[in-house]
Symmetry: C2
Subunit: 685 residues, 2 copies
């Protein structure tokens, strides 16, 4: 509590305060005349001295130590996301190629789990006969992947500090194209989370159909789990992520190898669909070019993971770009083997997708090859895990991209702030909320979400490749001719895919992306415009010649009655001004008379002005009074010293402070006004 | 804008400010040496000088003149509820008996419109034969009314300043009983609004059955209309209220007279129920004592309006209590004639209530007597109007009672504040919202709401009468013996009715009152306890010997970067302190280095302390730093000078001020801390 009231009057007994917290202790040495100055540092547990003059370094305790009602919140937070991490820790957390493959390629590799199925589901619209096209389409997609991978190897080398499409496009095609790429990617990342989690849950419901009805709840819970995990900063701890990725790789490569051997040796028969499926209406559409293009578009989702490695280049151990490139190549190869292998097997074994969506094609394949046993369960668990991990890729990418955008002023600045665990808290929370929205809105259906997915990513790919093209052409660095060729091919390929995806799936959902991307772009650019105007309006044009002193402020203290808070406010006003005025606005003249009579014995040397308010308004007359004072001295700022009682419980706010709050809001928008809040803490007795 | 930044340095050119707004103009007279002082009053349009030293009186312009974005809101408000009214106007607004009858008795008189019907609806549960009991029950209720009226005549004389049950019970039975009466009345008033409006709307739907489905919407709109009207202060303008009351009186007395004549002359036949009603299941219950008591309880609603006149005694012209008594007596007589007359007619004409609830009994009666013509329409319109007006009685009573409770600290203080139009704004709005809740919850059904209605009012009646009993007994004033007898009879009667109403309708809805009244009582008493504790903790025990000066505050200025708002905040800090410290909390050491290098040329004589925050927290390290300063000088308050940019649009708050807000919340609960907000208004360019 502010002690003015309880102190005895007279000149205050002031202690000097050292802002650098080095309390100098003057004393005498052992021999006479041996004066010395000893520096005591009583605050070492909270602050250390920095290298430079006037610099302190806060310790962890400044964050963890809390008093009063926020202490419990702090404990909950520490329990949930852990103790804060020192900024310098970041440097030490670099990834080996093996860990990098696990973290950044899980999105890509995991596409092999649902990519073939998505192709087949479209083809099946033209009857099961059309499913023979699965393998050729998978082959085509693999060729595209090769082109994109080679292209991105160039990009990674050129942008070793992070080759996000946003950065490459901004750098070479201008800020508008950069924002377009960013908008497309942001949407893509949100959909990635929704798709991957849905697919992961589908892998589980394939073997435990009883939980199929709860898939939305399960999906949402997984997203919340990912959110909390990422707020803890699990991004840095690659080891636990290696397990699912490599488990999936080993299990799937083994099953595909086993399957190919059995097919080549003719020791496995064709798939027989359950009788129940026959009753479900399927097929019926003609197998035209449009349907084939749609099937291709659904499969092209497999390429979407390529961006992740490029984004994360700076996270690798040095030489960063070389390690990232190698990782990218390996990821592409592993994916291609699995993707083509699975497509081959389902085609020759004539597996058809489950029209009830209860079982995935992959689980049908594994069951057909290995039976209803432990291998199926292992395969499905590994699939589920890598798919959830793939969602986690977005939890690394979205916050990083939004931090770039926050830094550059396209998103609110808080996106650029690292939280206590070095994670971009705002981005992680925003991504989680939007993904949950999608999961609920689309009922956690993979097929429903896929059309939203691919278009955004391919727009970003195209802009990135086009950016590289411009870069080669303008810089003409060593090797620019092959570079131009490679990225040109990449740009052409991705542009074609973007076009195919956008048009063939337009009515299935990509129209939403076509609508959302420009809206998001407009938002990003409006935010940027605001920040730029804002910064310009606050900039200081000149460095002042000497220390600036504001004109002596006019100090007024609105008081409601003679009580402790009022006394405290007047005491403070008198401490900062020699001619503070107490103002009592009232609609009860008798009460005001009483106040005026008691005043001299109470605060004799402070002027009291009573403003009678016969219309019973408080704020209006007070502001008008301030205007009248202001007119007399337009240069002097007016300080309004408010006394406010700090409630002990939140509900007490309903019984107090209503007027104070309204007054503060109005004063806040009054020019040349300073509001000084003198809170009074009632003592418990 | 605060001009510190643009002024050239040097001692400020300060103008003197006269807090009493009397700018003294020193000059010379015409003859040499003839100095004079002329007092100029440039602020007369906004402030007049009061009679006492240091007193100003605000004019209407201080309320009406607004700048900026609040100006439009002000205009809307003036359009909706009118210009503010001067406090002194209240004295002039007294009521004649004629107006008093219209305003305060509409609740009572209007009960005649639905009272008989409510009795009949219960009796009809035992078959149409039981309806012959309607007349005897109506007679019994009229006898009770006589007793209560005579009782209340005593109360009015004893409490000429307002004879609300709350006041009478508090005064004689202690505060707890007073609060019980208040809680019962508050609930009763809310139900009155809901019941009266529902009944008024039922009068309309009887002749325009097409709007029956919209009765909730119509009812809610009427409540909103009453709310706005009362916020305008229509309570004072009795004339427009006289029309519906007297129209209803004239029309109904005429119809009842006409009906009685026709019945006595035998020129009207018995009522024949439409064939359609026969198919609706009715009757079947046995006509036991319980059912008769329930019917009586439903009819007792007719007595609920008696309290209104007693509440409003001070609103009458002098001699207030005499005029109020006369008005009360007349109201009772008029009501009795109508109530018994209608009960007589429906009994002899064998009118039965419409089981579909589409037509009221009163409209059936009028239609039976006068046919489907213009008289029916007039009667229904007059009924609808007086019923809505009866709701308005609660709009006078509820806010007045809640203002007493606010004044005494049982409800939040804002209930005691008169708004711009002298109306108790908070009470009016609270009543409207609760009544709307009831209307929606009970689907605007009169029969559904009635059981909630009567019990609360009769509890209050009983307490008021019992209070009078105690008063006679303890004071033994002139005429105490007959007084004791009258109020004793009144107390016994109302207590019996309260008991009958509470038990017979318990499961039909009065259980809700039995639950709500104690809850509301507990709330009122908790609020009172809080206010008392609060006032005690703020009270000043001693009058200080001399002017109190707070210890010189420690002033710190947290700054984020070198911009105009920061400069302005530092300028203010230097104006109130000679050793203000600027604090820069940062997680980016490079940026801090740059700031430190530019600092000397920028604010050379203000100390800059850089607090490096390697855990990226801002609030925690700043508070820890303040604690470290505080430990060095526990007596000195710490002033935190915050610079904040005032956004030009509300949405800009999403992009700024997040940290500032969090900081303010934490600082607000820190003892010995003063927050000075220096808002910066960006210039438009």
């Amino acid at each position: 509590m502010f002690r003015a009231v309880t102190r005895s009057p007279g000149p205050p007994d002031e202690r000097r305060v050292d802002p650098l917290l080095e309390v100098r202790h003057r004393g005498r040495g052992k021999r006479p005349g041996d004066a010395y100055v000893k520096i005591v540092r009583p605050f070492e547990s909270k602050f250390q001295r920095g290298d430079d003059e006037g610099e302190l370094i806060a310790t962890e305790r400044t964050v963890l130590d809390r008093r009063g009602r926020t202490a419990a919140l702090r404990k909950l937070r520490t329990w949930l996301i852990g103790r804060p991490i020192h900024s310098e820790r970041e440097e030490h957390e670099r990834l080996t190629k093996l860990k990098g493959l696990a973290i950044f390629s899980s999105d890509n590799i995991s596409s092999s789990a649902y990519g073939p199925e998505e192709i087949m589901r479209v083809l099946a619209l033209a009857g099961t006969g059309a499913l023979t096209l699965t393998l050729p389409l998978a082959g085509l997609i693999t060729v595209m992947l090769a082109i994109v991978t080679v292209s991105y190897r160039q990009t990674i080398k050129a942008y070793p500090k992070g080759a996000s499409s946003y950065i490459v496009a901004s750098d070479n095609l201008g800020s508008t194209m950069g924002v377009l790429a960013a908008a497309a990617l942001l949407i893509g990342y949100v959909v990635t989370v929704a798709v991957s989690v849905s697919a992961g849950v589908a892998a589980i419901t394939s073997i435990v159909p009883e939980v199929f009805d709860y898939r939305v709840v399960i999906s949402v819970s997984l997203v919340v789990l990912l959110m909390v995990g990422n707020l803890r900063g699990i991004r840095e701890s690659g080891t636990i992520f290696m397990i699912p990725t490599y488990a999936y790789l080993v299990v799937m490569l083994a099953i595909v190898g086993f399957g190919v051997v059995r097919v080549l040796t003719g020791s496995v028969g064709e798939f027989q669909a359950p009788a129940a499926w026959a009753s479900i209406e399927q097929g019926g559409q003609a197998l035209g070019l449009f349907l084939i293009l749609r099937a291709f578009s659904q499969g092209a989702v497999a390429l979407t993971g390529v961006e992740a490695v490029s984004d994360g280049v700076p996270a690798f151990k040095p030489p960063e770009w070389k390690n990232a490139r190698t990782t990218l190549t390996w990821a592409a190869i592993v994916f291609a083997v699995l993707f083509v292998g699975i497509a081959f097997l389902v085609t020759v074994l004539r597996i058809i997708p489950d029209p009830t969506e209860e079982q995935t094609v992959l689980s049908l394949l594994v069951r057909h090859l290995t039976g209803d046993g432990v291998i199926l369960v292992i395969a499905q668990i590994a699939t589920a895990l890598i798919l959830v991990l793939a969602a986690n890729t977005s939890f690394a990418d979205f916050p990083r991209l939004s931090s770039f955008l926050g830094r550059d002023g396209f998103l609110p600045r808080q996106f650029a702030f690292r939280g206590e665990r070095l994670a971009f808290t705002t981005g992680i929370v925003a991504l989680s909320l939007m993904a949950i929205g999608l999961l609920v809105g689309f009922n956690a259906s993979v097929s429903g979400l896929i059309p939203l997915y691919t278009l955004g990513v391919f727009i970003a790919f195209t802009l990135s490749q086009a950016g590289m093209l411009v870069r080669w052409w303008t810089r003409r660095e060593a090797g620019w001719r092959p570079g131009l060729l490679i990225n040109g091919l990449g740009a052409a390929t991705t542009a074609v895919v973007a076009l195919v995806v956008g048009t063939s799936n337009f009515f299935q959902g990509s129209w939403l992306v076509v609508v959302l991307v420009p809206l998001l772009m407009a938002l990003l650019m409006a935010i940027n415009r605001h920040y730029r105007d804002h910064a310009a309006s606050l900039q200081i044009d000149r460095i002042p010649d000497a220390k600036e002193v504001a004109p002596r402020p006019i100090v007024i203290v609105p008081i409601a009655r003679l009580d402790r808070p009022a006394l405290q406010a007047i005491a403070f006003a008198n401490a900062i001004s020699t001619d503070a005025v107490a103002v009592h606005v009232t609609n009860e003249p008798e009460e005001a008379d009483e106040l005026r009579q008691r005043w001299p014995s109470w605060a004799s040397s402070t002027t009291l002005v009573v403003v009678e308010s016969p219309y019973r308004a408080l704020v209006g007359p007070l502001l008008a009074y301030m205007d009248a004072l202001q007119e007399q001295a337009p240069d002097r700022p007016i300080v309004v010293v408010l006394n406010e009682v700090v409630p002990r419980h939140w509900w007490e706010n309903l019984l107090h402070n209503q007027t104070g709050l309204r007054l503060k809001l109005r004063l806040f928008s009054r020019p040349n006004t300073i509001v000084a809040d003198v809170p009074y803490h009632p003592t418990r007795d």
